[in-house]
Symmetry: C2
Subunit: 223 residues, 2 copies
DNA sequence: GATTGAAAGAATGTCAGACAATCGGGTTGA
DNA sequence: TCAACCCGATTGTCTGACATTCTTTCAATC
């Protein structure tokens, strides 16, 4: 049997592009958490019809990025600190497990990709581009999760990180946090590269806990 | 000020009811995994319009209960064994954690509810009602997850269990499995009631692993 | 006879427009 | 000041339509 050349790209629909645009807009802080998303305005801004927009909104609601209250319509999800804390706890559970598995089974090629992602984050951390920091950090995690051998963990983790991003869209721009975050991520990388699962798990746990603490702190000083 | 009787029911929309109906239909095995859901047929059967139906389908797709392929439409998700295995692994991670937390902090009132749920499952296990088994077992887990102190774990776990249900809708009807499942669940309950976190976690892990093994076995004998 | 090609049918993706139900806010009246 | 009422704004839902795309069937050719 010849190799399966199943490279056929799935056609992208307007619906999917709309979801992506809206998600990016929410992450970028175009819409404040808690602000309402008026359908009639959005479909003009996006150049699509209301039915298509509503389908996209259902997808975002399922991701918990927006909330749709009957007869009041969609609004950007506004998380309380308790909820953020719960998300961080779940993330810790998954991420520590994924990092541990990753340290056992990552391939050299993927390890090099991970090293590259770490370098990219280092660069972003030195810059002032807040969005670049989030993007490059997400890429770093993404590679780890993609190499943990369990696509479900990857999927859930992606959702959790997205929801956290909701919360810290602007607050993550603190200078100090990026630098210590870099150090923690380097610890994770080193442990994975050394194949030291125990150290990898520990470094991962430390990283998530510190990220949580930083988020909490930035929240409190913001009010 | 009188106590806040915030019992006001959120108005349920046709959309939500449609999602519930379809979800139940999928779980009940009305639609075979892999079978296509033709929009024009469904909206006649459900008595709603196509736009409303499509919104409901987007929600189900986000839950991964159905897949929507561009220009081919929705079909019931068909899981491979590898995917089911990955879901069970994730479920183990979450459920063990939740059971452990629950054993530390469940209230006496909730513990009684849990006991009642266990009794209900016992009754269902003795009967031949496959759907009742799934329902009562789900209720048992639901109470545990609701008392783990982390609503996010609860939410994710619910999604995972739903996806597993997708797979075993008819295969879970084995007689022997329900009985041993009951014994395992009783172990979990006893450990929680005793406040013995270590035993609770161990019992939970055993339960998930055995459930996974049973699923695998029933899959293999089915072909 | 097998393979290729085209055409017809079916289903989806998307849109426009419309209308009732509901919510929120502002006004009015007591 | 507070309560009731009314009105604009917004959502929930429907009907109908059309272009695009996929699948399948059927005919033609090698």
């Amino acid at each position: 049997m010849p190799p399966d050349l199943n490279l056929r790209v799935l056609p992208r629909t307007v619906q999917q592009e709309t979801v992506d645009k809206l998600r990016l807009a929410i992450f970028s802080g175009v819409f404040e958490p808690g602000s309402r998303l008026v359908e009639s305005q959005l479909c003009v801004q996006l150049g699509i019809s209301r039915p298509s927009l509503r389908e996209a909104l259902r997808s975002l609601a399922a991701e918990r990025l927006i909330e749709i209250i009957p007869n009041r319509g969609p609004s950007v999800t506004q998380l309380t600190w308790d909820e953020v804390n719960a998300i961080y706890e779940a993330r810790e559970l998954l991420e520590v497990e994924a990092v541990g598995r990753c340290s056992r089974q990552i391939t050299p090629a993927e390890l090099r990709k991970l090293e590259g992602a770490l370098a990219a984050f280092e660069e972003a951390a030195a810059s002032n581009d807040g969005l670049a920091r989030i993007t490059t950090a997400a890429e770093f995690y993404s590679i780890i999760l993609a190499n943990c051998g369990n696509p479900i963990l990857e999927e859930i983790h992606r959702g959790l990180v997205a929801r956290i991003s909701l919360f810290r869209s602007r607050s993550m721009s603190q200078e100090g946090r990026a630098m210590s975050s870099l150090a923690e991520m380097r610890d994770i990388f080193d442990a994975i590269a050394a194949g030291d699962e125990k150290a990898a798990r520990k470094a991962s746990k430390t990283h998530v806990l510190k990220a949580k603490a930083a988020t909490k702190q930035s929240l409190q000083q913001a009010g």
